[in-house]
């Protein structure tokens, strides 16, 4: 099987090379013979997926059959490992995960090439670009990080999978993340292909947008599954630590989000063509940069793969990609002239522009903070650590500004918005937002309460000393989230009321129909509602509480309104790990409300501990309990947190995913109007509709 895997890997490289070279020749020479050559290139691209699939299958087969003659299988699995985790060994190490990347890339390429009839010439160009990327990854797995390396001596058992990865979410999280990362290669291929061929019109943007949304959706799922895993497994009570590897996934997500917004300006008004094409290029480059950060060992991270010399490959890839992008941009930039201009600062276009400025600024700040330790090493000769507080100070204000734009943007009209319309649309949301702000203060959210005395102006200006950052952010975030939620709900109600008489249904039925009629717009609104909920969940972290103490059977510990009473201690042993658990009765205000079983597992193969966090969750707060370990007297030490509003974070993510799913659905047919319209007006309306069509729709 390893031999077959190796052969498939080499064969897939040959096929990708053929697809690339023959594809270029067929595109340069325009003749019937070259068209046939182009078709062979396309088929080679299709076949490359089958070949890489064979290779991935061979590796999984080796894992399932405990083939420890393979160094990779020996390093990442063992006999006692459950089957699901043996399969996940495919992406748990450097070499396997690169093979997995190559396989997904070939899979995306397969779909793209299979659907070539959407636009044969554009697909041919995109296929060549994608084949170029495939060649890079296949060269990596063939020559630098081959997962089919053979051991000198076959071991009886393997080292096993990292215990932290032995968690159900970890079986899904990396594939989701990789589907997102790799999926962003497709919009890049389309964009570069369209630029090279000077694609007429904006159809490529329509095709690209769907691919981008799918990839963005996967990336979103992957990022939040990772956050949920960190929350449920790592046992420190948080979900995002601004670790370099976490940041690596956030970078393309931020620029991809910027693209998903600004692309609408190109579709509707023919604006920002240069900006959009560079956003796609940057997003793709950031995925490669993410790979570089994760795999080169340049930054220290608990999530990173082992330090290796593979980083040079990624630097070369980034340089070549950038050079190709710059070359074709300079050559064909005349093709990217805007067809319209910004007419008013108070318009939808303007809000998209500021949204892009903020998203890209956040992207730069994350990159800056991630690479700053490397920079200090170059300049001062030693690495410093840049952690959570720095990223929070820099990025949370940007996040709040984005939340404000999320509330304002959708209510602004294209081209220009009148003051009367602003007043009409914003008075209720702004009023409710102000009410939320006052209510929070009334309920005791007062970030200045710690030190309200300032004896001098300089003391006042040194506000970090007297103003709690987390509380201030929470005090701003919740009213802004209220603003966003209200504007969105009012938009649904307003639209529903317009349709209600025509459909002869209730307002909810009308809202459903409305959503189905313009899935992209209303799906986007739903996603924005999810973002508002996520911010509410994040704001809750300002009011975290924690307590830790050794707990013998029968003893109690108090945290907030909860009392934890130790009922029992248990110990278990199986072939994979030894575990210690505590059975805790949870009481609230003296009344029993349930039981929690925090556990710690010591994995035998690696001797590493892993926490199984016990969480009792409701809409108000999470009671988060970990079995921290055993003290000198072998007494279990229990650590408990109260994490307010965390559930809203996960609910928000589900709503974002739902909204994006809705936005991906095709629109329903519009209602036919039965209102008689004068002929002259109808003619003008028809001319007007033509004017309102997306740019390039008629081309």
């Amino acid at each position: 099987m390893p031999l077959l895997g190796s052969f498939c890997l080499l064969f897939s490289l040959a096929l990708a090379l053929y697809c690339f070279v023959a594809g270029i020749i067929s595109l340069v020479r325009r003749s019937p013979a070259s068209a046939r050559l182009g078709e062979t290139a396309r088929r080679a691209g299709l076949a490359s997926f089958i070949a890489v699939s064979g290779s991935a299958f061979a590796l999984v087969w080796a894992a399932l059959n405990n083939d420890f003659s393979l160094a990779y299988i020996h390093a990442h699995t063992n006999r006692a490992l459950p089957i699901a985790y043996k399969i996940s060994a495919l992406w748990s190490g450097q070499e396997g995960s690169l093979l997995f990347w190559a396989w997904l890339l070939a899979g995306y390429g397969f779909v793209l090439r299979w659907r070539h009839k959407v636009d044969q010439r554009l697909t041919a160009f995109s296929s060549v670009v994608l084949a170029g990327i495939q060649i890079f990854f296949l060269m990596l797995v063939n020559f630098s990080a081959n997962p089919f390396g053979i051991m000198d001596r076959v071991a009886a058992d393997g080292n096993g999978l990292n215990p932290l990865l032995q968690y159900p979410e970890m079986v899904i999280h990396p594939p989701m993340l990789y589907l997102g990362y790799v999926g962003l290669s497709v919009p890049f291929a389309f964009a570069l292909g369209a630029l090279i061929m000077k694609y007429p019109g904006e159809k490529w943007i329509h095709i690209t947008r769907r691919w981008t949304m799918v990839a963005w959706l996967f990336l979103t799922c992957g990022i939040f599954l990772g956050a949920h895993w960190a929350y449920s497994v790592l046992g420190w009570g948080g979900y995002w630590a601004w670790d370099p590897v976490e940041n690596a996934s956030l970078l393309p997500w931020l620029s991809g989000t910027a693209f998903l917004h600004s692309v609408m300006m190109q579709e509707k008004r023919g604006m920002m063509k240069v900006w959009n094409i560079w956003l796609i290029f940057i997003t793709f480059l950031l995925t490669i940069m993410g790979d570089f950060l994760t795999r080169s060992g340049i930054v220290a991270s608990v999530h990173a793969f082992a330090r290796s010399d593979i980083g040079a490959w990624f630097l070369v890839m980034m340089s070549v990609t950038l050079a190709v992008c710059v070359f074709f941009f300079v050559k064909n930039r005349d093709h990217l002239k805007s067809e319209n201009s910004l007419e008013s600062l108070v318009s939808r276009e303007s809000s998209f522009m500021w949204n892009n400025v903020l998203l890209l600024a956040a992207c730069f700040f994350v990159l800056w903070g991630t690479l700053f330790p490397v920079l200090t090493e170059w300049v001062k000769g030693h690495k410093i650590t840049v952690g959570l507080p720095f990223f929070n100070y820099i990025n949370v204000p940007i996040g709040l500004a984005l939340l404000l734009l999320t509330g304002i943007g959708p209510l602004l009209a294209w081209r220009r918005t009148s003051w009367s319309s602003i007043r009409k649309n914003f008075s209720i949301p702004a009023g409710l937002s102000l009410l939320a702000f006052i209510a929070l203060i009334a309920f005791g959210v007062r970030p200045w309460a710690e030190t309200p005395h300032f004896s001098s102006v300089s003391e006042f200006l040194h506000f970090t000393q007297w103003l709690s950052f987390a509380n201030s952010c929470a005090l701003i975030a919740i009213p802004l989230a209220t603003l966003v939620a209200t504007t969105i709900l009012l938009e649904f109600i307003r639209g529903g009321r317009v349709l209600q008489p025509k459909l002869e249904t209730n307002v909810f039925g009308a809202m459903l129909h409305l959503t189905h009629r313009n899935t992209r717009r209303y799906g986007g609104y739903i996603a924005h509602l999810g973002v508002a909920l996520i911010f509410i969940g994040l704001a809750g972290s300002a009011w975290d509480k924690e307590n830790e103490q050794p707990l013998r059977v029968g003893e109690k510990m108090q945290i907030g309104q909860y009392t934890l009473v130790s009922q029992d201690e248990t110990q278990d042993d199986n072939s994979n790990y030894t575990s210690f658990a505590a059975a805790l009765e949870v009481q609230k205000n003296g009344k029993k409300i349930g039981n929690l079983y925090p556990e710690i597992r010591i994995f035998k193969a690696s001797q590493q501990p892993d926490h199984m966090v016990a969480i009792r969750s409701n809409f108000k707060e999470d009671l988060y309990v970990i079995y921290a370990g055993r003290d000198e007297g072998e007494v279990p030490v229990i650590k408990a947190f109260i994490k307010p509003l965390v559930s809203w974070l996960w609910i928000g993510v589900i709503v974002v995913i739902l909204g994006t799913g809705v936005a991906l659905l095709p629109n329903a047919a519009p209602l036919k109007s039965t209102v008689p319209v004068p002929a002259a007006v109808a003619a003008q309306a028809s001319a007007f509709e033509k004017q309102m069509e997306p740019v390039g729709a008629s081309k």
Binding site: W236, G237, M264, K268, A300, N340, S341, L342, E343, L345, R348, M353, W354, V357, L360, A361, F364, F365, W368, F372, T376, V379, I384, T385, V386, G387, L388, P389, F390, I398, W419, L434, F437, I441, R446, A449, E450, T451, Q465, S468, G495, V498, N518, R520, R521, I626, R630, D631, E632, V637, P670, P678, V681, Q684, A685, A687, F688, E689, Q691, M692
Partner: protein, 163 residues
């Protein structure tokens, strides 16, 4: 718009006045705890677990209790947070503090983001100004007189077709 201004002013005044009206009394113990959490939250445990000092969650860690004890001593001895952080940088190594210093080369970590943001905003503003200067010419070229009756249709079309 004119009628809106007094209400807006009232709302803003309320926003700023309310916090001052509801000022809480100074609580020294509360202040010390906040300082301990604020400063401790800027350091990581040096045992190799990569966790924040006050969040280090493994029992029997040989490093975090000593660091926490040192933190309490330094907080009592020094008035400024940055002085405390500098003491830890000198005694436990520069990687202890997970926040760049506010002096020397590390200051650039703090300065660059706001400068870049300001430049981005100025650049975006310049682009907008350029666009708006170009706009009258484009509008003059493509201006079509629209029947006033079409206005309602226009707003409806905009409402129903916009993304």
């Amino acid at each position: 718009m004119r009628r809106l201004q007094p209400r807006l002013a009232l709302a803003l005044t309320l926003c700023f006045a309310l916090p001052l009206m509801m000022r809480a009394d100074v609580d020294k113990a509360h202040e010390d705890k906040a300082r301990y959490e604020r400063t401790g939250g800027k350091m990581q445990c040096m045992c190799g677990c990569n966790q924040m000092l006050l969040k280090c969650n493994h029992v029997g860690c040989p490093v975090s209790p000593v660091m926490i004890r040192d933190l309490k001593v330094q907080l009592n001895a020094k008035t400024g947070d940055e002085e405390v952080l500098d003491w830890f940088r000198q005694n436990y190594g520069v990687t202890t503090v997970i926040l760049p210093a506010s002096h020397g080369f590390e200051l650039t970590a703090w300065v660059v983001p706001p400068v870049v943001l300001a430049l981005a905003v100025v650049l975006a503003g310049l682009i907008v100004v350029t666009w708006r200067k170009r706009m009258p010419q484009m509008a003059a070229a493509g201006d079509v007189a629209v029947d006033p009756k079409l206005e309602s249709l226009r707003s409806r079309a905009r409402q129903e077709t916009e993304i």
